[in-house]
Symmetry: C2
Subunit: 482 residues, 2 copies
């Protein structure tokens, strides 16, 4: 489950099926079965002496490179009571080092006409730049520098904490749908830290200190806990000497150990939550099941859930769309997505937005009926073939985007998948039989594994609405969209 903070556009192409109905996805369905594509067939990989993994994804179409460093640490690895420290440290990573103080790294990227970004999820934290290929060595030098020499002091850290709190206000506290999402995660995970928001609980963010950030940095930002992905107009022969000269010089300074998080007990209850807020203009309904991720699933199970998701809620040909939007005309929008990329459990989400005047309870009933029939009867062979072709087409399309491919490998490796597992996902999708899809739905889409959530309108309270404030461009926010 890549619970990337919501500003990060979800890469739906491979890890999940698209959540929003897409026109024109039928291109592949009429074609006969053929060999499944391999994702990133030209990928190569090696390890530096200090334990840092390097992955090279050649892409010769343009003279640019995407340079990413992924740390195998995210919000679910935070110490108790210190939620938000992973994301806060991500911000602080832009504060400079003795050799490159202040926002110098960002300024260099900008001056070179490049782009940069960083993101934190429950399972990983990543930093990237996209620049012309001749600047790759410089990016590696600068990134390796902040992997070991980050300057952390209260004078720069304290204002950045305010930026993070503003970010939380804007993205979560002032957004009823996001607040509901937080409550869903909390309800879904009685014990696992996936219940804790990636950005952190406000009361805990407020108490984070530079000392917390240093402890987290020292424990997790060590080269043996990092993965370098270089995608673009390069090959292993180019990348290896650069990597050895930069990251290769960084001392292995901690052993983060195995990532063992407290696990959830099996749920025996059904759970429902609701949020009513005057800022809600459009009620909506969602149901979230805790299901295996690509990493925790038994063989073939995660791929079956990919297909379950697509058949139920992937676009205008899906069962939910046909039944609820077209036939019954109950909802304006509906769909499903599966967050399969997670170190621990994943989640499968079905959502619907009712038409004016339709009660959420009626939407729930109609969704229930669609799912009950699906788990009872299973999909038709045609549905499975169609869904297979669709997700394979998306996998093929993902290869056209250098940054997408870099993220697929970074994300997969960060949660413990092998390169081969990532590459052969299309073949496993293709090998999934209709009865496996049916069994996956019946096993995992049970009432006890789900949390049902309603977002409701509410009459105005008479109190003025909290002011929305935007940290972008403010002091300390830097140039990065992070």
């Amino acid at each position: 489950m890549s619970r990337i903070i919501r500003r990060i556009v979800r890469i739906a192409a491979v890890a999940t099926v698209l959540a929003v109905p897409l026109a024109g996805v039928r291109a592949e369905e009429a074609k006969p079965a053929r060999a499944a594509p391999v994702i990133g067939a030209a990928v190569s990989s090696f390890e530096l002496a200090n334990g840092m993994r390097v992955v090279v994804i050649p892409d010769r179409r343009a003279p640019v490179v995407t340079h990413m460093v992924w740390y195998r640490v995210g919000a679910a690895d935070e110490p108790a009571g210190r939620s938000g420290i992973a994301h806060y440290l991500e911000h602080l990573m832009f504060k400079g080092t003795p050799a490159h103080p202040g926002g110098e790294f960002s300024k260099i990227v900008s001056k070179l006409g490049g782009q940069e970004n960083a993101f934190t999820s429950s399972d990983y934290t990543a930093y990237y730049q996209r620049v012309a290929k001749e600047h790759l060595g410089l990016m590696m030098e600068l990134e390796a520098d902040r992997m070991q020499n980050l300057a952390l002091d209260p004078a720069t850290a304290a204002p950045e904490l305010k930026v993070v709190l503003e970010e939380r206000s804007m993205r979560t506290d002032n957004d009823p749908s996001a607040k509901l999402g937080e409550a869903v995660d909390a309800a879904l995970h009685p014990n696992h830290p996936y219940r804790i928001p990636v950005i952190g609980w406000r009361s805990e963010i407020e108490k984070l200190t530079v000392k917390d950030a240093i402890a987290f940095y020292d424990r997790f930002y060590t080269p043996n806990n990092a993965i370098l992905i270089v995608a673009g107009d390069v090959d292993e022969a180019t990348v290896r000497p650069l990597a050895e000269a930069t990251y290769g010089k960084v001392a292995r300074r901690a052993e983060p150990g195995e990532r063992m998080r407290p696990q959830d007990p099996d749920s025996v209850v059904t759970r429902a939550i609701a949020l009513a807020d005057e800022r809600v203009t459009q009620p909506s309904w969602r149901r979230v099941w805790q299901v295996p991720s690509s990493r925790t699933a038994a063989a073939g199970e995660s791929e079956a859930l990919d297909l379950v998701t697509d058949i139920l809620g992937g676009g205008a040909t899906s069962r939910l769309y046909r039944e609820l939007v077209v036939d019954k005309q109950l909802v304006a929008q509906t769909g499903a997505y599966y967050q399969s990329t997670a170190l621990d459990q994943g989640k499968l989400v079905v959502y619907a937005v009712p038409r004016d005047g339709v009660a959420l309870a009626d939407v729930a009933k109609a969704v229930d009926e669609v799912i009950a029939r699906f788990t009872r009867e299973g999909p038709s062979a045609e549905e499975v073939a169609h869904a297979t072709n669709k997700v394979l087409a998306e996998a093929i399309r993902s290869q056209d985007n250098q940054a997408t491919l870099a993220r697929i490998f970074g994300e997969g490796l960060a949660i413990g998948q092998t390169i081969s597992e990532i590459q052969t996902w299309p073949a496993r999708i293709r090998a999934t039989a209709p009865e496996t899809v049916k069994a996956a739905a019946a096993t995992w889409l049970t009432p006890e594994r789900a949390v049902t959530a309603e977002l409701r309108t509410a009459p105005p309270s008479g109190k003025p609405l909290p002011k929305l404030s935007f940290p972008m461009g403010g002091p300390g926010a830097g140039g990065a969209i992070r």
Copy 2:
């Protein structure tokens, strides 16, 4: 919130109002107001050089003593992923020391005609014996011995883990109502460790080791983290030399530090859960609000909640009883209780058992109406006077029981109250005005602070029911009912 494992009879007299309607509680109501009683007026207290607190509660009515040692540690202080270690250690404390191996301590108590027990809650762990007064010194010697010399080895610890797992099967896993209770706590506490069951999650209990127990023991079972309560036919002059000769010799071997647990964010959602099980013969409904405890509340607020609870659901004169049982004849049973004794937040519970054929939704609606009217209109002066007299009568009655009084002080001190705060609770109850009671209900009994839970019947699954197994008397269970 003293989430004592359920085998421990809740001392409802003072800390809460009784959960079950009681006949004959009206004795005090007609009397005019008088000075509020002081709980344990003769209590004295001192501290040993190693930081252990000693409290003496003279009670000369019989030549017996109640000897208790309370540790300021409970399940909410456990390391992440090690749930159940506090309770497991409680079991292991009966496994002996080099000087008194095996079950020798328990055998001595039994031979002397005494009783013993131990209990673990989220906030504390306590051990007690009740013996003839001449054996007090021996009890202190034995308890001080196991405070520092506990013999912990895999040969005795491993079978005891099986006993704990059997206890969990019997008390929780095979009891739908207890399972629902676990889910309520999990839903009520998105972040605070009160969400974790005192006995632990099964998957985590299974992995507990002797090493975990030793680490927990070494960190928390130090005299400066302990409170000795001696109630009975003794005074400070008798107890002091005995305490100095026994507990006084135990080295202060750790500094457990301040008890800071991760706190819950304010809830913005309403939450409902349901459990349907074929073993349920009688459906029931409950709603649990997160409210301040006697320790976290603003001045007067916890006492106001004591009165809210009694007026709403304390016995046959309460609003819920009159309206739901007598007038509307919807339910067979209803009541309320307030778990006020907690280091962090407390909880207030309203429950109801419908009559045959009455839907749980109708029960919920009727309860909602009672509470809505109460928070809107507040209580009458008569209701407050009646409830005040009732809880004060219970406080007076509690003084008749040596063990009850010992527990009141042990529990209060273990969560950080002072002796004076415990003693003057009746006076604070007496000083609570009707408008304060109304304000407390309006502030705290809001939909967003609550979790609503339904226990439902279900048709037989056709699968055989899990076997109930009783560890009592089995190997390793010892003689103690613990």
